[in-house]
Structure formats: C-alpha cells, structure tokens
Amino acid sequence: MDFVCNFPFFSIILAMFCGILSSVLKGPWAKRLCLFMVTAVLVMSSAVLAYTMKTGTSYTYSMGHFPAPWGNEIRAGVLEALTATGFSVIMLLSLLGGMSHIFTDVEETKTNLFFILVDLLMSSLLALIYTNDLFTAYVFVEINTIAACGLIMIKQDGHGIVAAIRYMVMSLLGSGMFLISLSMLYDITGHLLMEPAKEAVGAIVASGSYEVPLLVVIALMSVGLAIKSGLYPFHSWIPETYGYATPAASAILSSLVSKGYIFLLIKVFYRVLGYENVVSSKVINALFVFGLVGMIVGSVKAIKQTDTRKMIAYSSVAQIGYIYMGIGLGTKAGMAAAVFHIFTHAATKSLLFISAVGLYEVSDGKADYRSLRGSGYRNRAAGIAFAVGALSMVGFPMLSGFISKLMFATAAVQSPHKMVATILGLAVSTILNAIYFLRLVISIYSPAEREYGADMSHQASRKLKVASLLFIIVNLVLGLFSQPIVNAIDAGLSMFV
C-alpha cells in the first residue's frame, strides 16, 4: 500500500487534533492552525485524488488492521477524493473571505472556539466523505451537527441561540431517523461495514424476504438525511440559520454542512442499499417530487423576501431541491448532475454570502435590497463578486450554474417519465431565480438615493478581494473546464457500484 493511501485517515485525525490543540491557543494562533490544517487537508486530498485517478480504482483502508466484517474502514475513490478536495477549497476560501468578520462578530476571548468548531466540522465532514462504516457515519453526523450548531450560535445573541435550537431540533429528528434506520439495517443484514452490508442486502432482495423492513430502512434513511440537509418541506430552519450567522459560518453551513449529508446519502444509496433497489422502491420518486417543489417554493419565498441574507438563504432551499431532483431522476446521469451541482452550489453560494456582507457593510449595515442601492460602486470588489455569483446561480453561460443546468436537462431527457416535469421545473425556477437575483444586481448598481459618508465607501479588505477572486476563478473553472470534473464524477460513481 502506497504512503498516499494513509492521507484520508491523516486528514481526519489532523483536523480533529487541531481542534483539540486549539482549545489551549489564543484566537489568532487558532486561526493560523486552522488555516494550516485546511491547507494541509487540501494538499492531501488532491494527492489522494491524483493517486486514485492514476490507479483508476478505489481502495479501503482498515483501521487497526482488523479484517473486513469486523474492523472499521475508510474508503477512498475518485469521488471521495474529489469531494474532499472541493470541500477543503471552499472551506479555505470561506474562512479567508469572512476572516475579518470572525474577529468582529465573536467575543474576543472566544475566537479560538470558532476555529475549534471549524476544525471539528472539517474532521467530521471528511469522515462522512471517507467512511466505509455506517455507525461511524452516524457518530460523525452527530459531531457535525454539534459543530454546526456551535457555528450558528457563535455570535452569542438571541438570534443565534434561537436559530441554533431550531436547527438542533430538526437535526436531531433527522439523526434519530438515521440511527433507527441503520439499527434496522444492522438487524436484517448483520453488518455495519458497507461492502458486506451491500452483499447481504443483495441476498435479501434476491430471496424476496424482509421487503417491508428494507423499504422502511430506505425511507427512514432518505428522510433522515433529507431533514438534515434541509430539503423542502424540512427547510424551515434554513433562513434563520444561514441568515444571521457570521458570514464565514453562513458560507460554510450553506455550502458544506448540508452537502456532507447529501454526499453520505448518495454513498449509502450506492454502497449499502444498492441504487437499483432504491430506484425500484419508489422512495426516490418522493425525493424527486419534494426536490421539484422545493425548487419552486424556495425561489418564490426568496422573491418575497426583502432581506438579502434571507433571500440568499431561501435560494439555498431551491438549490438543495435541484440536487434532490437530480438524485430523484434515478439515472446515473441525474446523479452525476446532482453531484456536480453540489460543487456548483458550494462554490457559488459561499461566494454570495461572503460578498453580500461587503455590500451591506457600506449601506449602514442594512440588508434589505432597497438599502443596497449603489453599494456596488461603494465596494467594487464585493459588487463584482456578488454579480458573478448571482449570474452563476441564474445560469449564465460560462459560469458553473449553466453547466449544472445543462447536465440536469441532459439527464432529464434520458428518463422519459420525469423529463417534462424536470425541464419545466428547471425553466420555472430559473426564471424565478433570475427575477430576484437580477433585481438584487440591478439594485446594487443603480445610483443611491442619497449620499453616503466617507466611512461608507471603504473598499474591501485584501483578504476578501483575494477570496472573491479565487471564488470567481473556481466558478469559471467549473463553467469552462467542466469536462474533466464531470469525467471524474462519472468515474467516481462507477467505482461506487
């Protein structure tokens, strides 16, 4: 086994140890350690990606050298490595872009807490991505939930705590369902590791026994993780949660935390339950329908908002809907589109959250879109970044959003029963997206109704500029050089089976 194969484990454990170490460090040092950790994870994940691409196979890494049916395993294939790389890029850029706000929004003595939580979050996300064991997945789901909850309430105001408790309640419902479903699965298969469990599921399906329990497992697992990732109609916690956290936290929560659960769901579908069983169980149709409804409802609600942050948060509801719609198509092309959209949305939504702050900073701190008039001139970097993000969400060609929509549509044509609904849903939600995002872009570039003082025209900090620029580049790369990424996703999905 090559040395690179250790990297997934190293990155999980490194992130966790950084979190523990940060508890005795002061804020600025915790920050440096955290940035170092994310960079190191990025480097290691890219190495794993290069390695798996080169070998063309996935590998399992058994912890403590216990053989298959007993031990605890990590699995790394192209898709896992790609996701880990993508997530660490987004994490790094979100931290960079929201850095100045972390130190103003969080009490000075508690800044190191923020970075502890980020470290733990990173560790649990990586574990969710790489794990090959269902119970490990459950444990890290809970760690992820706790860390995310901490990030939500890090501002320590009433908003944060109420938002956190609502998030916790929904999340715990979700993890409870996940836990009971995996207990039942363990009951009927006798395994928690993904490969033997899948074999057992295959045997059960072939023998025709335990039909109802298997259906219940599939349904509970899907619903549990759907609640946690905020699929309509379980989206009620999203706007408050994303809207009021510190910008770096909003960006991380919206683009990474919910995606971690979706990735886990995809992995469970392929690696445990067997995708064809999931497709034939019809649970997938429910995901499809709720995804579609979420796309429309999220956009309509976003149009009704006047607060920019809530508008962006509701747009997340719609985008999560896109992803579930892709999963719900029940084809490999649909799944590939959904995975690609995970990246698109992560790159775009964090850009929007990071740049939106720059805009209302220069508008007396007001976030409703009418107060933002002319802010694109007062803070040019943030204005350009926001415009690019909005255009990408709308699906402007050459940006990442266009490619994901194209992939969804192409995938839709391959599944005849769902084609018309999918494309109509895409069309309606795209036009709705265009309405509120272009309204925002126009309003930040239309002349202000009154003069703003000199203190309201300060330019973005250099970190924000660099982060925005890099985010824009990521978007352009996803929009223009999508083919290698799509190929990698396809290869990764094939390795799942």
Partner: protein, 124 residues
C-alpha cells in the same frame, strides 16, 4: 399479527417508544419536554439494539471459565453500539440543555413559540 407483535415484544416496544419520542421532539413546544422526547427516542433505539444483540440463554461476551466457543456468548457489537450511542446522546443532551438555559435567561420562557415571537418582536 398480534402474535408476531407479542413474539417481538422488545422491538414493538422500542418502535412505540421511538414514535413517542419523535413526536414529542417534533411537536412539543416546551424545550425541556423536547429534550425528554429526544432521550426517549434515543433510548428506544438502544432498547432495539440491545434486544437484537441478546441471544436467549447465552452469556455476557466476556471470556469466562476458558470457554472460547463463540456460540456460548451473545453478540458484543450491539452492546458496543449502544455504549457509543449513549455517549453521543449525552453530549447532544448536554448541548441542548445549555442552549435551553441560555434561552431561559434571555427570554424568561421555555416555550419555543413564545421565544420565537419575542425574537421577531426584537427584530422590528
């Protein structure tokens, strides 16, 4: 049907408990009751796992009297899962309780609806 349910008494009980816990967590407005619901829900899962792991007439899976035949012992994995699960649920409960204390100090209420209403008022 009833005979099946009676034969699988532990599983039936754990499913009922899970339902009770789930609905309490979802529907109750009082935060403390929500937390109690959470614990009932988790405990139901542990009951389910423990019931599944226990094989009638076998010993606790600790090597006793030099008997190495695995057929003499029950399955240790569910017990391990239960222990891990308890750790997770304790930490989550602790977090929820601390959040509740903070909310109570700030808003003087444990009713989530009332808290949200006050919070909306503050926003204006």
């Amino acid at each position: 049907m009833l005979a099946h349910l009676a034969a699988n008494m532990e599983e039936t009980a754990s499913m009922i408990l899970f339902g009770i816990g789930f609905t309490t967590l979802l529907l109750h407005k009082n935060l403390i009751k929500k937390i109690i619901g959470l614990n009932i829900m988790d405990t139901a899962v542990y009951l389910f796992l423990a019931a599944k792991g226990y094989i009638y007439g076998r010993m606790v899976p600790i090597l006793t009297d030099g008997i190495t035949d695995p057929a003499a012992y029950t399955n240790p994995i569910p017990d391990g899962l239960v222990l891990t699960g308890i750790v997770v649920s304790v930490s989550v409960t602790a977090l929820m309780l601390s959040l509740t204390i903070r909310l109570y100090r700030r808003y003087g209420s444990l009713d989530l609806d009332e808290i949200v209403m006050q919070w909306r008022k503050e926003e204006r």
